[in-house]
Amino acid sequence: MELVMALAIGILFTIGVYLILSKTLLRIVLGTSLLTHGVHLLLLTMAGLKKGAAPVLGKEDTYVDPLPQALILTSIVISFGVTAFYFVLAYRSYQSLGTDDIDSIKEAKE
């Protein structure tokens, strides 16, 4: 199971990095959001996968560690907010600068 997760995380990271390195702003935003997904899976895997029953209910003696899920939830909320902001910013700079190509944005003057 860990191997599958590791592969999934690796693929998410690869695509994320690839997208971030591309030229259009939209792809970069998508890249960052894939990257954070990868990191969330990493957090889940690192804390140990499915070692027992659901926590809190007390049905079994061994239960999974609930902490990583709380952490992931927090991190998802944060990345949701940041991604939303990034999209608005990308749209706004497209309106104002007339392009979403990173190279032309760099050349744009005041």
Binding site: I20, L25, I28, T32, L35, T36, V39, H40, L42, L43, M46, A47, G48, L67, P68, L71, T74, S75, I78, G81, V82, F85, Y86, L89, A90, R92, S93, S96, L97, I102, I105, K106, A108, K109, E110
Partner: protein, 492 residues
Amino acid sequence: MNNMLVLPILIPLSTAVILIFFKEKIRLQRWISVVSSLLTILVTVLLVTRVHADGILTLQMGGWAPPYGIVFVGDMFALLLVMTASLVSFAILLYSFSSIGEKREKYYYYTFFHFLLVGVYGSFLTGDIFNLFVFFEVMLISSYALISLGGTKLQLRETSKYLLINIVSSTLFVAAVAYLYAAAGTLNMAHLSQRITEAGQGGIINVIAVLFLIVFSLKAGLFLFFWLPGSYSAPPPAIRALFGALLTKVGLYAIIRTFTLLFVNDSDLTHNLIAWMAAATMILGSLGAVAYKDIPRIFNYNVIISVGFVALGLAAGTQDSLNGAVFYLLHDILAKALLFILGGLIISAAGTDQLSGMGGMIKKYPLLGWLFFILALALVGIPPLSGFAGKLLIIRGALDAGMLTLALIGLGSSFMVLYSLIKVFRLAFWGSEPGKKSPAVSIKGATAVAAGLLVLVIAMGIGADPLYAFVSQAGDVLASPAEYIQAVMMKE
């Protein structure tokens, strides 16, 4: 009674929320902001005196005993930083009244200002590494909003870059926390410190330590500062002052905290790495400060130099140099805020940010000129101004630790600071006025704020001796983490 520890976060947080409801009433917004800032200053001063008398304060959120719950730790280091930050943010708030412009004020400038402070104070006070991430994000999201507020082309362009850099580094931050949790099984910093010491700092912990170093260096501008000069030039001067004074310092605080508390057992590797990063930062920052001819960039490179200098204090790791790092950090928060405020005043008085378009301003604005000159001396470290004690302690610590080259680089960077600031002073204030006359602007109110901050800088220099009692209390905790751990984990 330790509940007071949450007030430095609660006050700006509730202020920010209240301000949202008064979008159009600028005067009211200003008054609420001033009252809230004064309250924060009062609370932090009280907290500092309490810690000075009774030692480290801790607050367990929701009564969950560590290591299970989130804990707030008010040790002297964190609280001194919170106090200085609250003083400086008050000055910047007053400066923004005259400089930020009605439009930005109506679009929630003060709200974001206070949210940013929540993030800054929270990062200083928390004792949980994931909570540190959360407060970092609070701070960063507010800074994204502030840096793009106004939506000029330059701002939009720079925000895209700034945002991307920070998202990537935050991603790495979460990854580092994940690895650390897998390796040590806890997130409470005091508990982590215990466990890492028990298990020994092997290869895996070293990799995690370096990962954290990369993350925090990106935020602090330690060696990985390529994004900083451009991004910090984009927003208006008040926001620039806020960023230059506080944001990089939070990153530095995180580096100092993690590398004096968590990753202390293999300092040959980690602290040497920090030392060389510090050296590179100071050298490259000096080159930048000397090379550019526009005020925002010269000042931004000055921020970078001082980041390197504080990191040198951490790398040396002696009692002296840690005290010096604390001292210098406090001085630098004050001085950099003042530097950026004065820079903003010079730019608005001259009508341009290029040095080539300035000259002869000493006639029209003598007070501004002399404030700038004294500040330049303070930043270089001329006694009895505030930069001296910190520099002396750091250099002495570095020499004690046998880092002669690094100490020399640190001293050399001071000369570069002197050169770059005197260059600004000479070109902007002396010489003949440029051909086109810039309209005279009234900057009296803002100059008074700057003068107030300068009084603090001078007082900090003259009062270095009584202040040292507080600073050394902070340095003691950094030098021997046992005290910090004991304060947090006492329930066991």
